[in-house]
């Protein structure tokens, strides 16, 4: 009997070990080794930190990284601000059928691929697109208006792509808040603002933090949206990695960039968790 349980345990454990090992641990070890390699001659390599020195030595790399991080944070904040009232409405105000329909509506955009979704925005925002034509037709603009290829268009795309990942944890968290607790907040003299500040937001905090982490990571690692909607000034860090690997064929530097992204994003998440007084356990376990 005990033997059988043990076998079952290992059988269940195998896919997890394979998944972690083959897709995460082994590639990352290889990446780490790659990033620590310097090409000294044709087919000759030596172990050094030259790639990392390259990253810190060239301001454009550092600036692109900081810009990407800041823009991702901004995208996270904007997503949170839009998603919170939506989630509150779905979780607390909508009832029965309306609730599930609204939730489904948040999911619908994810039935098509990210590429198609981004093209959708291009159709709306380009010079000959819907908004531009509409503005001309109403007489608000004299000529065609180009709304693509700038930071705002990119931000719209990022927020749109991340919405669901913020709404889901927020709805789950807000649904677990007993209506009576909110009512008690009003009953004891609270106004809408103080109930939100002292009761709803503290309760939803694990959901806010976990949603923010997911959205931040997704934005930071996004390649398609910044490339398609962003302008030539909106260089995203993933584009740098792509160009090192594919265009320049400099895998060593690309691997170093990849590692820097991993380390710095982990650092930002850790700092955010510390600042909000949350733990990874609490937010992801919710």
């Amino acid at each position: 009997m005990a033997q059988g349980t043990k076998l079952g345990f290992y059988l269940l454990l195998t896919p997890l070990v394979l998944w972690l090992g083959l897709l995460i641990i082994i590639p990352h070890i290889d990446m780490a080794l790659l990033s620590l390699r310097e090409r000294v001659g044709v087919g000759e390599y030596a172990t050094s930190l030259a790639n990392y020195r390259g990253f810190f030595g060239e301001p454009i790399y550092m600036w692109t990284f900081l810009r990407t991080a800041m823009m991702s944070m901004l995208a996270t904040v904007v997503t949170l601000i839009i998603a919170f009232p939506v989630s509150y409405y779905i979780a607390k105000i909508a009832k029965g059928r309306v609730q599930s329909v609204l939730f489904l509506l948040c999911l619908v955009p994810f039935w098509v691929s990210e590429l198609v979704r981004t093209f959708g925005w291009m159709i709306l925002l380009r010079e000959t697109g819907l908004f531009s034509s509409l503005l001309q037709w109403t007489g608000l603009a004299d000529g065609p208006v180009e709304m693509l290829y700038n930071d705002v268009a990119m931000m719209v795309g990022l927020v749109y792509t991340s919405m669901l990942f913020m709404v889901v944890p927020l709805v789950t968290m807000l649904e677990s808040l007993d209506d009576a607790v909110i009512e008690a907040g009003y009953d004891l003299g609270g106004s809408g603002a103080s109930v939100l500040r002292e009761i709803v937001i503290p309760h939803a905090m694990p959901g806010i933090v976990s949603g923010s982490i997911v959205v931040f990571m997704l934005s930071l690692g996004n390649y398609l949206t910044p490339t398609m909607l962003g302008g030539k000034d909106s260089l995203w860090f993933t584009e740098l990695i792509y160009s090192q690997f594919i265009v320049r064929f400099n895998w060593e530097l690309g691997a170093a960039f990849g590692f820097m992204l991993l380390i710095l994003s982990s650092l930002i998440v850790w700092v955010t968790l510390r600042l909000t007084g949350q733990t990874l356990e609490k937010t992801m376990g919710s």
């Binding site: 007993d178 009576a180 607790v181 009512e183 008690a184 907040g185 009003y186 009953d187 004891l188 003299g189 609270g190 106004s191 103080s194 002292e198 009761i199 503290p202 309760h203 905090m205």
Partner: protein
């Protein structure tokens, strides 16, 4: 003296259904008022209207003489203890109790002083820094009351707050609630479906059924002088028969049940006419048991039967007696010891006075 709480013609309509139908009552200052009724009778609706979470369709609510219509819940001088208490789980005890004081804009030191004081009064000093989930059921209860009482409301509403507690604790909390009410000297309005909670604690009880008050009175009134069949059936246990009125003499009547038994009874409320269908209620403790028929000679209802069941429940033990005809009659067993050896099937005599019964027109 103006009553602390006064409701007049209070009505609440939800789409098709009328949850509360023209309810009027007033609660004297410092008293413990209960609304007792089965679930779905509209008692929670009344409470939510008083608290301000629902707007009445018709009627008026006055607190200390001031109409509360169109006053937001956070501006009313009433506070509510919720069914599941609704303590703020993200705050510690001090912040929970201080929440309302912070809303009033009091200073930090004054809040701390008031929180300390109220914790002393509920007998839980020094638990300020604990979280609600670290408290026992009874402690949570008292913190929830303290959270309201620290705001010194004119009326405290309690929505079945003992429902979630286990039996032993509930018994203790009943007594504790009553003494807390005396301690704070505030008007309590308590709603419950549990009659023993209402009977033990209340000064006045309103029995509610289908959106209306059936009877308002003291616990003793409701128990011994029910005015309607619903009250007689809902408050306390009763033997219950249906029959036809054969004779009427003042408030005394004689009733013939369907299986031919003739019972002498008394009307408590509206008089009954000869030949009308009626219901008769008899409390198990109003019935005397005897081994010898002669002991029961002074009763106008006497019956010979045998014990068909023994329902042992300590001090509240009962027996079921089956007569020659008719249904089983539930009888409380006296605790003097003379029936300690009673066995199933033993022959007994039972009797009761017609004045101890309550008769009402059937179907009312």
């Amino acid at each position: 003296m103006t009553p602390d709480l006064e409701c007049q013609g209070l009505t609440k309509q939800f789409d098709e259904t009328t949850a509360v139908r023209g309810v009027s009552f007033s609660v004297a200052p410092g008293s413990f008022f209960s609304i007792l009724g089965p679930s779905g009778c509209g008692k929670t609706t009344i409470m939510r209207m008083i608290a301000g979470f629902l707007e009445p369709t018709d009627g008026d609510i006055r607190i200390k003489g001031k109409s509360m219509l169109n006053v937001a819940p956070n501006k009313r001088p009433v506070n509510m203890v919720f069914q599941h208490l609704a303590l703020f789980p993200m705050m510690n005890v001090a912040d929970n109790i201080g929440y309302g004081l912070r809303r009033k804009g009091l200073g930090k030191s004054e809040i701390a002083r008031k929180v300390g004081e109220v914790l002393d009064r509920i007998g839980l000093p020094g638990i300020e820094t604990r979280k609600p989930d670290e408290l026992s059921g009874g402690q949570k209860q008292r913190v929830a009351i303290a959270r309201c009482m620290v705001l010194e409301p004119d009326v405290l509403l309690l929505d079945e707050p003992l429902g979630a507690l286990d039996l032993k604790l509930r018994e203790r909390m009943k007594i504790e609630l009553k003494s807390l009410q005396a301690e704070f000297d505030t008007t309590f309005v308590y709603i419950t479906h549990d009659q023993s909670e209402a009977l033990v604690m209340s000064d006045q009880i309103a029995v509610m059924n289908a959106g209306q008050f059936e009877q308002v009175g003291s616990a003793r009134d409701l128990y011994y002088r029910p005015k309607t069949a619903f009250v007689a059936g809902f408050v306390g246990d009763s033997n219950r028969w249906r029959g036809t009125v054969e004779r009427v003499d003042g408030n005394r009547i004689a009733l013939r049940t369907a299986d031919g038994m003739l019972i002498a009874g008394a009307t408590q409320g509206a008089p009954l006419a000869t030949g009308s269908a009626a219901e008769i209620f008899l409390r198990p403790e109003a019935v005397r048991v005897a081994q010898d028929a002669a002991d029961l000679a002074h009763f106008d209802n006497r019956l010979r039967g045998e014990v068909s069941s023994l329902l042992f429940n300590g001090a509240a033990s009962r027996i079921l007696v089956r007569g020659e005809s008719g249904p089983e009659i539930e009888v409380t067993l006296p605790q003097s010891g003379e029936f300690a050896n009673l066995t199933k099937g033993a022959p007994v005599h039972i009797g009761w006075s017609g004045d101890q019964t309550a008769c009402f027109a059937a179907g009312s």
